[in-house]
Symmetry: C2
Subunit: 715 residues, 2 copies
Amino acid sequence: MSQAIKAVLFEESEIASIASELGTDSLMGKSLTSLIADTDAFMALGVEVPGHSEAGGYAHNRHKQNYQYINQAGRLFLVTGEEKYAQYTADLLLAYADKYLKLGFHEQLNTNPPGRLFHQILNEHVFLLNSSLGYSCIRHWLSAKQQQTIVAGLFQPMLDMFTEQYSFDFDRIHNHGIWAVAAVAICGLAIDKPEYVEMSIHGLKGDDIEGGYLAQISKLFAPSGYYMEGPYYHRYAIRPLCLFAETVHRHRPELDIFNFNDQVIGKTIKSMLATAYPNGVFPALNDASLSMDVCDAGVVVALSLYAKHYGIDDDILGMAQIQDCVWVNPCGQVLSAAFAKNQAKLTPCWPSVELNEGPNGDRGAQAFMRMQADNGDVNQLVMNYGQHGMGHGHFDTLGISFFNNGQEVLREYGFGRWVNVEPKFGGRYLDENKSYARQTIAHNAVAVDQQCQNNFDVKLADSRHGEPHFFSGDDSAVQGVSAFCRDFYPGVDQQRSVLMVNHGVLAKPVLVDLYRLISDQNHQYDYSLHYDGQIVRTNFDYQTHSELATLGDHFGYQHIWNVAQGKATTEASDTALVSWLQGSSYYTWLSAVSADDEVIFTRSGANDPSFNLRSEPGMVLRRQAKDTLFANVLETHGYFNEAVEASTEARGQITQVNVIGSNEQGSVIEIVAQDATLVVMVSNQVGVTPTTDNSVTFNNQTFQWQGYFAVEQRG
Amino acid sequence: MSQAIKAVLFEESEIASIASELGTDSLMGKSLTSLIADTDAFMALGVEVPGHSEAGGYAHNRHKQNYQYINQAGRLFLVTGEEKYAQYTADLLLAYADKYLKLGFHEQLNTNPPGRLFHQILNEHVFLLNSSLGYSCIRHWLSAKQQQTIVAGLFQPMLDMFTEQYSFDFDRIHNHGIWAVAAVAICGLAIDKPEYVEMSIHGLKGDDIEGGYLAQISKLFAPSGYYMEGPYYHRYAIRPLCLFAETVHRHRPELDIFNFNDQVIGKTIKSMLATAYPNGVFPALNDASLSMDVCDAGVVVALSLYAKHYGIDDDILGMAQIQDCVWVNPCGQVLSAAFAKNQAKLTPCWPSVELNEGPNGDRGAQAFMRMQADNGDVNQLVMNYGQHGMGHGHFDTLGISFFNNGQEVLREYGFGRWVNVEPKFGGRYLDENKSYARQTIAHNAVAVDQQCQNNFDVKLADSRHGEPHFFSGDDSAVQGVSAFCRDFYPGVDQQRSVLMVNHGVLAKPVLVDLYRLISDQNHQYDYSLHYDGQIVRTNFDYQTHSELATLGDHFGYQHIWNVAQGKATTEASDTALVSWLQGSSYYTWLSAVSADDEVIFTRSGANDPSFNLRSEPGMVLRRQAKDTLFANVLETHGYFNEAVEASTEARGQITQVNVIGSNEQGSVIEIVAQDATLVVMVSNQVGVTPTTDNSVTFNNQTFQWQGYFAVEQRG
């Protein structure tokens, strides 16, 4: 007991300061209260170290819980001084030390090598990282013999496995690699073996090139901080990244890690946070669940760390408000204090941002555009024109998603996976992830000739990327993004320009979506939208099928039912209109259509022999053309509350969308609302800048504007 | 100003007492705060009295808002003393007085006669009730001339319309009738015309038989207090019922209204509250939305009134907690004070109750059975074996619904209506309400020969009712309900017995559902369940169809897709098993099956030309038989949280359900779990009592038990 505390992430004075918040209602106080309640509840189950099971199975879950509670109980021993926490941490560690080497290796199930506790060593890395942190908190409380037992029976075998047996996996620039180096370094510090810290920071060869933390954080992220696999995998890597950063900061201060490489750590945390929807959920870019959010434990660590080392603003405080907790660490204390001081009402609205991709930032980008409605509600558009995202990539370049009123409106399907649901293929990725979820038609994009972008060839897709055309996200009245994607379908170039327009004649910001296809040959273009809720009305006739067939046989089409279809035009109108009700909002999609266009109402779930897919609605506007422009508007309107039986403005204000013209210079459309007509002009000139002069003439009418786009009111 | 206050529902001293809670955080204080914020926001829009529109249209909504805010602003003038509220109330009333007689009558759209403001006078009654209450709060503030103008231009014409022009609708024993009499009486008091009070209480003829409030509350409810149309319509009638009761109490104390007819008012409020699910939502019995809950304004009034006049217990306080407000009235103040005093943690769990139906309580019943799991979660079963429910009745006698973990698990479809959504047929009932929602197959029941109970004949159905067999709802380990339904399909008798069993070998209460069919002839029996979420696994093979056809052509079957089907038995097992994931819980249904049984996975939404139906999954266990017993178990197990990627116990503990035997004396089944086998014995003897001795012999094995049922552990 008289020994000095050796906790990797705490100084003694810091512990006392955190302890002073026990029982308070600061974010730190609340975090401690729930950490205690959670840990006590698990400790009541006793100590149990099981053998093997499938992912999602009992033993798998128990090992995951065990490392989590080794970490938590260790920290709580420091903060509360209660020995029961040290005892529990020690009991668990000693039980593992006794059993670990007796457990054989799992069978190898995927590309990740198997561990002794888990089917993939990735989980074993996580185990080492957490248990080392817990161990470091109680080490001074353990006898020398106990320390020896734990090191010899558990930590050293793990270190050997990771750095020798699986050394190929240790020196790897990959999000999994960050877990490996963070675990090995933190364990090295916890057991006084600095050589492990060195190899983790600088790689096995010590050259900062082929592996190690510094190489990883130099190469894994674009200059914007964006991580190419998307936020879902980013938030998984961010936790060891931050834990290791804080560790380096404390134990290798000479590296000045928070300023390393142009502050890459701060930049990548911020870029991850800036992708989140206003409710804190991450958009499901590439393989991702629809529910991963900023309350994830890794993001909690990241936000607290960012607050301490890079500063605090309203958006950071707004995120803390969603998290409703902080990291139980001196970093979290800084955020908690700032949050307590802030008296303003927080309506976080991260600035619109275009995050470039690729090591040099020249391989496309991801756009996150935000605009507030009069009532403060944040509308967010996400558009993907960056890289493919490797093995987890979806074939959805130029795909969009859209969020407002607390819900995703133009929806991502997410991954084809029931994560950790053991009877669903052990919770791993399912066949339908490839056959449906990753296909172009499963996204809000245009599928050409019933095929998938880049012919569903990952290697080909990884070699390409979208081309940013313009991005303008500062204005509160009109914002816009545009990008090209060339030859993702042979002989077809695509340009998508999406504007958010807040205009006096409209109740809420509307989305203007101009999707241009350019080809010498005739093609079938399927402009596809995925919504949720109930169709309220259309302005054209359609036929519901009394027997359902699929929309096609390949590229995801085999998983889609053709529920109903009809000609998109009517005698009265060349604008197709579909309204639906989702939650408490009405939405109306309007599109300029021509005589042979067809609208197909769809539902996913066909050819799904194990009910692996969700049954979700969508619609397709189908057109046969060479060059064409899909000109669409999405209006948000009205209010519905079934419980109190209230409904207002179930019909929107926009009645028509007309294409005035579109060519290589620009596209001009007209949006007719009840009280006014808006003319929207978008530049298609490659290389357009904010000062470029645009002039196009259609039907003897000339339209002129400066810069990327213009919105003008007529009548 | 020197005039005495003439408010119908307030004494001067009561106003001062309520005013003393302004700004406090009692339920009354919070109710006042939100009433003020809500009223101020609407007042900011100014005074507008529009003309006609469809239900759900702008004018319709505005008139509804106007009467609500006349009522609210009037009350707030009394409580706050601020003249702006009186002025606003007066401005609106005077505007109506000016315009009302200039508005022609609406077109008649349904059986309800049209009014001048609304398409049905029901809404006009509601207008009169609310505006009279508001008027009574500011009358002393108005000049005599203003009072005259309002009475002559608005109130008197309304009174004439209701009591003369539409007198046939005034004297009617019907839930709409309560609005009529309450409105006319309260208006009569507000304008000093006691003759209207008299005719409202005693009917136009004054005989308390053909009409009037006393006749209505004597005849509308069963002795149990149950209202035959179900909770959705009950909560609509409860508001005028309570407002009128409080009015009579204050102005005709000699009637001792709260003790009238064996306390029918208290009884019917309590029976309505006792139907609600643990989250406060009402089960959708008959035509009903899935979201109507105890926060409805009428239920708020009813709970406050009950608290003052009939007493307060933990369940009442628990409901107040869900409502998070009270009625701004002296009654609400009593509830608010009791709520503030209560320090205990509220986990409301209303006692299990069987509510009888019919004027004499002998026309079947509705069962509401509740059992708490170890963690306090309330499991609720609802079973219908009462009356049909007239024009709003569903053909679902012996149908059940089941709720736990905060969600409806065995689900009601609810009505075929998008209430107040103007583009959906003016928000009225849709064709699909008849063709699907009311049909037997749309419910959790057995449909025979692909038909509907009572051949979808309302008159025939109204002439019949279920027969209660037993109900036992006091025990915390086993509860049970059983009922018969004879000849609802020609030549077929049905008996359903549902038990909730909380047993040490099972994690949570399981539902045991024994559905017995009795016939001389061979029939097709479709045992149907409606679930939500994702199928996780089955223990039998099934084929998903690559083209979808409907399940049939009539009686709702035409709206159901046959998504997949398979033989229910396998070589390994005579128990069919289907597991699914809904929200954070896993559910496993197991059923004893025989060789020719088939399971069909379904989805609603076929032959739905206007997307009026929701697309929802279900399943059917299909059997050809004469006499048979469907023996089913529903196990709730495990936990899933996608956001934190946690999953436990995705497989349940029960592996088999075997029918040992079933005859007129009793049914005996065996439930095999991992750690034990339970034998469940249920008496089928007509007239069984808690002391009846039962003895049945199947396969030379004799089973004996006393009373309704027994559950015994073997092995």
